[in-house]
């Protein structure tokens, strides 16, 4: 920005402040929203995007693919039979099931084919089954981590080691903001869930953190109670009018100091204070669902009336998409079913089934699904063998990194299809000929491939979205080669 522009911004701001109290100059806006550029890699998006926004439904704790998506009818006859060694094939175990016997546990739930695509889905997901033709299952997902913490860190930041930027932060950094009143990256965390209440795995702010990227790209965690955004409301005794008067006073002094000192950072402060003021209006408007018609609330189910529910968060995600928030991540905890899986799974699936289906339907009706990518995944899968007590109708499952199922919808993804396959035990990803594989060419999809695909739909070549840190051109997909899963794209 040259001097003349700065002065005109300053003049414009003064005028604006005088007239309306608060406003944000277009030039300052560009400074604020314009992504950080470096080198010659600044031309983003790299190609025309299919999706403008992403909603990531993260099932923290890792749901069992065997009981929701990955139908294995042959297991019914193998109840309590030992898992063949050649299937396990040296796979490492967790501390919990090391040195124990590994007996096969079929799912107790019924599966049926859904939609024109004939996707197999569990009876636990009746509502989601009605949108099967919008869903794309990747049954050949695999990851490196066997424990929750590294598993979640890997799927959210592309690395098991804490300290890397999260997917949403990369998007904010790479693509900048699409709106001027709300953050680019919002995190909605279920305040409660129906499954396991005791063994609930932790979350970490690093999962939506920025790592080495500037912190303005970090996810903003919305709160279920109190201010949706921390520190949003004025303190007691300060009205909106009072706030305006205060910002007017502060803005005038800041503008004087900007002139005196010459540091453009003061302009940024002025602009950010104005943005904060606008957020004080735009965020409550966003989270106020009183204007939603009854049939929409019904679509999401009764839970939508409870702040902090997964249902409410799905509805909020739709409202955010309408307001052009780039990346929205929902966390639903309570999926770590080492024991009493059937009971807990019923409850957890009950939490998400209707709202997730409603979200897909609602987006579609509004024409938003076409350019909004919805992703649903846990951090890994669960074992075919039982952990703990074992009957046909009561069992538990341990962590399993070698295969799990994720689904995607909208945003240029083909619906009603299933990609990749696992062996008869849902233990290994296998190729067309049933041979165990982890190769992308055989349709195995690593977490980094999923991330590369998400970036691709947003018009980003994952190889070229980089940030220099500690001597490396860091990228979301890491150093091992990642691939876009082209077969699932429209």
């Amino acid at each position: 920005m040259d001097l003349a522009q700065q002065l005109s911004t300053l003049a414009e701001r003064r005028h604006f402040l005088r007239q309306t109290g608060v406003g944000l100059g277009a030039i300052a806006m560009n400074r604020l929203c314009g992504r950080q550029t470096h080198g010659e890699e600044s031309a983003l998006p790299h190609f025309a995007p299919k999706a403008k926004r992403v909603i990531f439904l993260f099932m923290a704790g890792a749901p069992s693919q065997l009981d929701l998506y990955d139908y294995k009818p042959g297991l019914a006859d193998k109840f309590k039979q030992p898992l063949p060694d050649e299937v396990r094939d040296g796979q490492r175990l967790t501390a919990m099931t090391t040195g124990k016997t590994h007996l096969v546990q079929p799912s107790m739930f019924k599966f049926a084919q859904q939609g024109e695509g004939g996707l197999w889905m569990s009876e636990l997901l009746p509502q989601l089954s009605t949108v099967a033709d919008d869903l794309c299952f990747i049954k050949s997902m695999h990851t490196d981590a066997i424990n929750h913490d590294p598993g979640k860190t890997l799927i959210c930041t592309g690395s098991e080691i804490p300290g890397k930027p999260s997917l949403g932060a990369w998007l904010s950094y790479g693509l900048g903001a699409m709106n001027r009143d709300l953050p680019d990256f919002i995190v909605l965390n279920s305040a409660f869930w129906s499954g396991d209440k005791v063994n609930v795995q932790a979350l970490y702010s690093r999962l939506w953190g920025t790592g080495f990227l500037p912190s303005r790209h970090q996810g903003v965690l919305f709160q279920a109670a109190g201010d949706p955004v921390l520190f949003l409301s004025n303190p007691g005794g300060v009205s909106r009018r009072g706030r305006k008067a205060m910002l007017d006073l502060v803005g005038r002094l800041n503008a004087r100091h900007a002139e005196e000192i010459g540091d453009p950072e003061i302009q940024t402060t002025i602009a950010q204070q104005e943005m904060a003021f606008r957020m004080q209006a735009s965020v409550p408007e966003l989270t106020d669902i009183s204007g939603e018609p009854e049939h929409i609330l019904e679509l999401y189910g009764d839970e939508v009336h409870k702040s902090g529910s997964f249902a409410r968060n799905c509805l909020l995600a739709r409202r955010m998409v309408e307001r052009n928030v780039r990346f929205i991540q929902l966390y639903h905890r309570g999926w770590d079913h080492h024991s009493n899986l059937p009971r807990k799974m019923r409850a957890q699936a009950g939490d998400i089934d209707r709202p997730a289906a409603a979200l897909v339907k609602d987006l579609k009706r509004r024409g938003l699904l076409a350019d909004t990518l919805v992703v649903c995944s846990g951090e890994f899968g669960r074992t075919v063998y039982c952990q703990g007590k074992q009957t046909r109708e009561d069992y538990g499952r341990d962590h399993h990194p070698r295969c799990f199922t994720a689904w995607l919808a909208g945003g240029g993804i083909r619906g009603g299809i299933s990609h990749g396959q696992t062996d008869e035990y849902s233990y290994n990803v296998v190729d067309q000929d049933g041979r165990k594989t982890t190769r992308f060419e055989d349709d195995a999809v690593h977490v980094r491939d999923l991330n590369a695909t998400i970036l691709h739909q947003l018009g980003i070549d994952h190889q070229r979205l980089t940030f220099p840190f500690q001597g490396l051109d860091q990228k979301l997909t890491g150093v091992v080669e990642a691939h876009v899963v082209k077969k699932i794209l429209v």
């Binding site: 700065q6 470096h38 303190p235 706030r243 006073l249 950010q272 004080q280 190889q463 001597g471």
Partner: protein, 823 residues
């Protein structure tokens, strides 16, 4: 702008494009101009990593062997003086996609016109090759010649001025005295000056006034607190384990030791030794043991989920990584799985260092919350005294018991039917019983007291050295070749001694004067604290991908003299603070900020936003709320509800957050409890790191969420109200406005500013006159009950309105850009 000399890697940063145009006069400098290009574009395939090396060609070593100068069947990679005869030149300029370098699939950009020009001139000028600067020990530097003799005669200033003169720039005049005092006070103590301190400084018209201030500040206890804060980022100090349960762990005595070390001006080499190997001193003092807790600051999982062998390896890798970042400024962790791609750190080097850190006598996973052996008890002075007393009493009781035993035995011999003797036996027996119960009670008291005594995690070595193997691809369960303790081959050797080298040997190797990195890395971080940016901007990475120093000779000069001063930190800071470079004004005008946004040329006083902790501490300080108590267990100032619960496991010892009460919540921010999974949002929103990894420099952003914190955080607003109450004690509006403005900004308002303040105050008054309920709510600091609401309607008097209006005015001052900024 006239063409200026090129400044190292800076040419990858767009802001610098204008002042990095290659000069037609100055010769190309290999390390500054060429090596960064080779490193960035070529090393990945033609660098130190043997496995990924292509065409047996490497550019990171001299021009022989597989290096740049080799004759390769008729053509040469680089033929000094002959551009067209150099294969390198052909490859970086050709349009043939088969031959072009870097190749398409590397996703590295081709050299741009400026970069090509540099390569061309380098070859033309003889293709001189230098060893990588940071791996060669700094030499004593001759003070440069400058033209302007009247600015300063100090060494630092000569280096800075000579660079400025080369650019055709002038330094800024000295900062105005109030601004300077505020700057130096914030830089050394993390708190602003008081009005009394400002007055005293202004009244002191002597030449040495500023020098006296610097000396006073270096002696303040707050100095150690402020210096410690940076160190705690670097070593990722926190109150929780950071993984899985993220349980609490007690290691606050380490934090307190760091504060004391800075205040006592502990020699920096000793500061390092104590941390790396404090446990290995013969008869290690309690402080030395506490300091060795550096090796325990890594993240650690609690038992029951992961595999202990894997956890063990992760801990050691984390420990070695911290060692590399904190002391060497190297990214050692890149060599966990393979040889480093850019620096000559081999995977073998990594595991040879690993061998120093894997011999800990501890379980790799924590048993639960609190302590995780090995640990030591750290009694307070009072507790130590009490303990000593109890132990002395115990000894006395034992002695008495022993005497009584003896008497009893003697009497037993003569007793028989002697009445007196058997009476004596009875008496002695009852006395013995009494001593026994006294002894029991004494022991209980000692145990009870010890339970109250704080503990801290420390390092402890097993007596037998654990064998170390290279972990193939970094996998904990794939041990490869066995290796032994040694330092990286490209750095000086460990001084030879008989037997297996120890961690103590390693600690001394860092500071033996031959190590090219330790002093440079340390000096650079101190510089960064005072100028916002280090002389090497990438203060965490002094390797090939790090940035070329803005003032390489100054860095080396400071580093060598720092070592010669016996690693005297206060002396180093004092010299920097007394330089004219430091004292320059930051009000340099827009052009200066546009041309050199980060102030790399040091042509003005630096201006940057205060860190999260300083932002908060300053608000508490100017409003009079700050509780200056030092040391001790971490405290929990209020934060919005449910944050911990929203991320924690129910069974975690840090599941439910309960804010402390009383004046504990007004302690300085470095005493705030740090839960790694969810640190205090007032801190992280202002760029404080999560303390999950070692951070040598923080980001410094400016966001709407930060604006919201300053506008609405309850304690920050409470501070404005408390402040208003105090300001209202001054007699008239003019005085109040002046005093308040000065207290917050250290400056006096000019007429224009005064008018803005007066108008603002009038506007606030009007608002509150029209909204009496708001006055009542503000005064109470909380929502009103219906009864209160009824009562307050219409009953607000002018004093209350005045208080509300002044609260808003103080609040406004706390939200100014110059308040949250050091300039």
């Amino acid at each position: 702008m006239r063409p200026a000399v090129l400044v190292g890697l800076a040419f990858t940063i767009c802001n610098w494009a204008d002042i990095t145009t290659a000069s037609a006069v100055e010769p190309v400098n290999f390390n500054r101009d060429i090596r960064p290009l080779l490193s960035d574009r070529c090393f990945q395939c033609h660098g130190p990593n043997k496995a990924s090396r292509q065409a047996r060609l490497r550019f990171d070593t001299a021009l022989t062997g597989e290096g740049l100068g080799e004759d390769r069947g008729g053509h040469r990679v680089v033929r000094p003086g002959d551009v067209e005869g150099s294969e390198l030149w052909r490859r970086v300029t050709t349009d043939d996609p088969e031959e072009a370098m870097p190749p398409r699939e590397s996703h590295k950009p081709r050299l741009n016109a400026k970069e090509r020009e540099l390569v061309r001139r380098w070859i033309l000028e003889g293709a001189k090759y230098d060893e990588f600067w940071a791996f060669v020990a700094p030499r004593a530097i001759v003070q440069p010649q400058v033209n302007a003799a009247n600015w300063s005669s100090q060494r630092i200033d000569q280096f800075v001025l000579s660079r400025l003169e080369r650019e055709g720039w002038q330094p800024q005049p000295r900062a105005e005295r109030r601004t300077l005092l505020r700057r130096v006070t914030l830089d050394l103590t993390g708190l602003p000056p008081t009005r009394q301190e400002i007055a005293a400084f202004l009244e002191d018209g002597t030449e040495e006034a500023y020098e006296h201030v610097v000396d006073r500040l270096l002696g303040e206890m707050q100095y150690g607190e402020h210096m410690a804060r940076y160190w705690l980022d670097l070593v990722r100090f926190a109150d929780t384990n950071g993984i899985h349960h993220d349980h609490f762990r007690e290691i606050t005595p380490y934090r307190d030791w760091v504060i004391r070390a800075f205040n006592d001006n502990l020699r920096f080499d000793h500061f390092i030794h104590h941390q790396v190997a404090g446990d290995l001193y013969e008869n290690a003092t309690l402080d030395q043991q506490i300091a060795s807790g550096f090796n325990r600051l890594h993240l650690v999982i609690d038992a029951g989920t992961a595999l202990p062998a894997e956890s063990f390896a992760r801990n050691v890798i984390d420990r070695v990584t911290a060692f590399g970042t904190a002391f060497l400024g190297l990214t050692l962790q890149c060599a966990v799985c393979h040889d480093h791609k850019y620096d000559p750190i081999t995977q073998r080097d990594f595991y040879q260092l690993y061998a120093f850190f894997n011999n800990i006598d501890a379980r790799p996973e924590t048993p639960g919350s609190g302590v995780h052996a090995p640990f030591v008890r750290v009694p307070t002075a009072e507790q130590a005294l009490k303990l000593k007393g109890l132990e002395a009493a115990g000894d006395a009781i034992d002695a008495a018991a022993a005497t009584l035993q003896k008497v009893s035995a003697d009497l037993g011999g003569v007793a028989g039917d002697n009445l007196a003797a058997s009476e004596a036996v009875t008496a002695v027996k009852s006395a013995l019983t009494a001593t026994q119960s006294a002894s029991k009670k004494n022991r209980e008291q000692i145990v009870a007291l010890q339970k109250q005594v704080t503990t801290t995690l420390v390092m402890r070595e097993r007596s037998e050295v654990r064998p170390t193997h290279i972990l193939v691809r970094g996998a904990y369960d794939r041990p490869g070749e066995r290796v032994f303790r040694a330092t990286p081959a490209f750095l000086p050797e460990l001084s030879k001694k008989a037997g297996t080298p120890t961690r103590m040997d390693l600690a001394h190797w860092l500071t033996d004067g031959k190590n090219p990195l330790t002093a440079r890395v340390a000096v650079n971080r101190f510089w960064q604290q005072l100028f916002g940016v280090g002389l090497v901007k990438t203060s965490e990475d002094f390797g090939a991908q790090g940035e070329w120093p803005s003032h390489p000779e100054l860095l080396d000069d400071l580093a060598t003299r720092f070592v010669m001063s016996d690693w005297n930190v206060k002396q180093l800071l004092r010299e920097i603070l007394l330089s004219e470079t430091y004292r320059q004004s930051a009000a340099a005008g827009e052009k200066a900020y546009q041309t050199d946004p980060d102030n790399r040329l040091l042509g003005r006083g630096s201006r940057f936003r205060l860190d999260a902790e300083t932002v908060r501490d300053q608000i508490l300080f100017v409003s009079g709320l700050l509780n200056p108590r030092m040391y001790g267990q971490s405290v929990k100032p209020p934060q919005p509800p449910n944050l911990w619960k929203s991320v924690s496991m129910v069974s975690s010892s840090t599941y439910a957050f309960k804010a402390d009460e009383g004046d504990k919540i007004f302690r300085r921010s470095l005493y705030s409890f740090w839960k790694r999974a969810m640190p205090p949002p007032q801190m992280t929103i202002f760029d404080a790191p999560t303390r999950e990894r070692c951070i040598a420099r923080r980001e410094r952003t400016n966001t709407p969420l930060q604006a919201l914190v300053l506008m609405n955080e309850a304690e920050y607003f409470r501070a404005a109200r408390v402040f208003a109450k105090r300001i209202l004690e001054y007699p008239d509006e003019e005085t109040r406005l002046r005093v308040a403005y000065e207290q917050v900004t250290s400056l006096l308002p000019d007429d224009g500013e005064l008018e803005v303040l007066r108008n603002g105050l009038a506007a606030f008054r009007k608002i509150y006159q029209e909204d009496p309920l708001a006055v009542a709510v503000l005064e109470k600091g909380d929502a009103l009950s219906p009864a209160e609401e009824q009562q307050e309607r219409g009953s607000v008097d002018s004093a209350q309105i005045e208080f509300a209006a002044y609260s808003m005015l103080m609040h406004s001052l706390l939200n100014l850009d110059i308040t949250k900024t050091r300039q």
